[in-house]
Amino acid sequence: MAPCNCHNPYLPYPMVIRQVTDEVEDRSIKTYDLAFRESADAEAFRWQPGQFCELSLLGVGEAPFGIASSPAEPELLRFSVKKAGVVTAALHRLKAGDQIGLRGPLGNAFPLELMRAKNVLIIGGGFAFTTLRALIVSLLDQRADYGDITVIYGARTPGLLMYRSDLDAWQSRSDMRMIQTIDQPYVGWEGQVGLVPAVLEQTAPSPSATIAIVCGPPIMIRFTMPVLARLGFENQQIYTSLENRMKCGIGKCGRCNIGHKYVCLDGPVFSMAELSALPPEY
């Protein structure tokens, strides 16, 4: 991604919120579909799954969010926001038609080139499914370019699974394997029950010619890594996305610095091989 010297990197693009939807049953996550106010900005905006943007509320502040939509979905620029701090709380008060700012796309992307002609294993947990959604849509858009696609996605309850209509559509496809799981049995749930690492162990995907992408809460990552290792995955085959605190998003303010990397500039996507060479400051 070529840095642009002509545009002030701190100036957000003006955006309009097209649609706001409650993503999960406890209403802690809302999904925003955004549109550029200026068509020139829209045309210049090119991104890859895995990249993020700073959503910008003038008078409140900015926060980074992974892009949840794929470039293969024209006219759609989607973010899902979990209410956690000041900016996210203010975002949750917005409605369709409201104005918002956007800076990006920022950071690196999932290694799509590396996945070409290989199998892809996607493991997600809870809220960390946003950029994975973008990735899956991109993979399916060029389905013939990739081998087997396996997705394991878990949440505490069925109502906390994000993007339900996408999940159902993927579930019914024959050219990919979509496994949804919840932590504990739940009335009316007929899918898998069990924590993501356990389901992964049962599923036992082959490591051969496979790239694994793992995004989820730290506790899930911690217990998933040993399972992948037992299955024979090497650190170079496994990728994840970090969520450090950020401000500028362009490698200057120093906040997301880990070792000689800046998560906003060199990440957020790192292979486990790269991460194991970095201090565990995330």
Binding site: N8, Y10, P14, L58, G61, Q99, E243, N244, R245, H260
Partner: protein, 350 residues
């Protein structure tokens, strides 16, 4: 075009007037009992040659706070933002110590590599930097451990050296050359140059012998989990004065300032010494204690920056030592790094 000019004392006032015509003049003065850089009043004379200012002049390029965007509020909606233009007035930064000037090449890489920071870049472009060779190194100076020296002109456009009855003015960059060419000064002769060389040597003599820090990045490799960080940081009160006064520290925060009819997006200095610096919205803090923060300060300056841009994040000015309210001496921490055995890191404290 000569590379060195002679500035006799008799022409000094006229030369200052020339500088003021070039742009606003920023130089060391006394303010509220503090020796510091400030914008000079029209009739005010710079106070050169009194050693290091208490705070570094980095604010000239990277102010402690600045508006990046301005926005207006219409009814309940914020209308779109406009860019706050940095002050584009040409300016002359006079009397910078060589160590402070040496911080500029590194800040340039941070702010102008990759994404171009327009605020820093505008000030940098508009500022002529005139360094003054250091004649009074103190016991807390360690520029020479980092490859610098009292007459090292890196980062400056021009270098002044006090000689008998005036100054020798050497041009360093093309910008310095073209500025000096218009000042109507006589070229320096061999005697002037020799006096300056002698003055430089005298200053070097005054520096305390010190072990070079070159290569310390290799030593830091295996020390991430070493107990030395927590030991070094125990007396630290996390005030961040070291980072504020440091000419190289450049971490910042961006905050929105809401006002009745709109507001501003402001950036201001921040510091790895503060606990809040890395706290996630979830409350998780990847650097949970002051030892981890001190490690970041040392690692960033002496390991990560050399790896990324080939420059240390420290020029050895010693301000963090003299300004520390508990006298935590970075040189002692670096000595501990030198003495540390990587195998002790397995004890893991941080």
């Amino acid at each position: 075009m000569p590379e060195a000019y002679h500035l006799p004392s008799g022409q000094y006032d006229a030369w200052l007037a020339t500088l003021r015509r070039h742009g606003r003049l920023i130089a060391p003065v006394m303010r509220e009992g503090e020796y510091r850089f400030d914008v000079l009043a029209d009739d005010e004379l710079p106070m050169l040659g009194r050693g290091l200012t208490r705070r570094s002049p980095k604010w000239v390029f990277f102010p402690q706070h600045e508006a990046m965007l301005r926005f207006r509020r219409q009814a309940d909606d914020y209308a779109s933002a406009e860019v706050a233009q940095p002050n584009n007035t040409p300016q002359v930064l006079l009397g910078v110590a060589p160590c402070d000037a040496a911080s500029l090449p590194m800040l340039d890489r941070i702010f102008m590599d990759n994404y171009h920071d327009p605020y820093y870049a505008a000030r940098r472009r508009n500022t002529l930097v005139i360094a003054l060779a250091c004649a009074r190194p103190t016991s807390t100076c360690f520029c020479h451990a980092l490859g610098g020296g009292p007459a090292d002109a890196a980062g400056a456009d021009l270098l002044l050296t006090v000689i008998d009855g005036g100054y020798l003015l050497e041009t360093i960059t093309p910008a310095g050359q073209s500025a000096a060419a218009g000042w109507g000064l006589d070229p320096a002769d061999g005697d002037h140059r020799e006096q300056a060389t002698r003055a430089h040597a005298v200053a070097v003599e005054k520096l305390k012998p010190i072990e070079s820090l070159a290569g310390i990045e290799a030593k830091l490799e295996g020390l991430f989990n070493h107990p030395l960080w927590r030991e070094a940081a125990e007396k630290c009160i996390a005030c961040g004065t070291c980072t504020y006064n440091c000419p190289e520290c450049h971490c910042f925060d961006i905050r929105d300032l809401p006002l009745a009819d709109g507001g501003e997006r402001v950036r201001g200095w921040d510091a790895c010494m503060y606990a809040q610096f890395t706290v996630h919205a979830s409350g998780h803090n990847p650097r949970p204690d002051q030892g981890a923060r001190w490690r970041q300060r040392i690692m960033h300056k002496f390991s990560y920056l050399p790896a990324n841009i080939g420059l240390y994040g420290c020029v050895g000015c010693g301000r963090c030592i003299t300004s520390c309210p508990v006298r935590l001496d970075i040189r002692q921490v670096l000595d501990a790094v030198r003495r540390a055995l990587p195998e002790e890191a397995s004890r893991g404290t941080v």
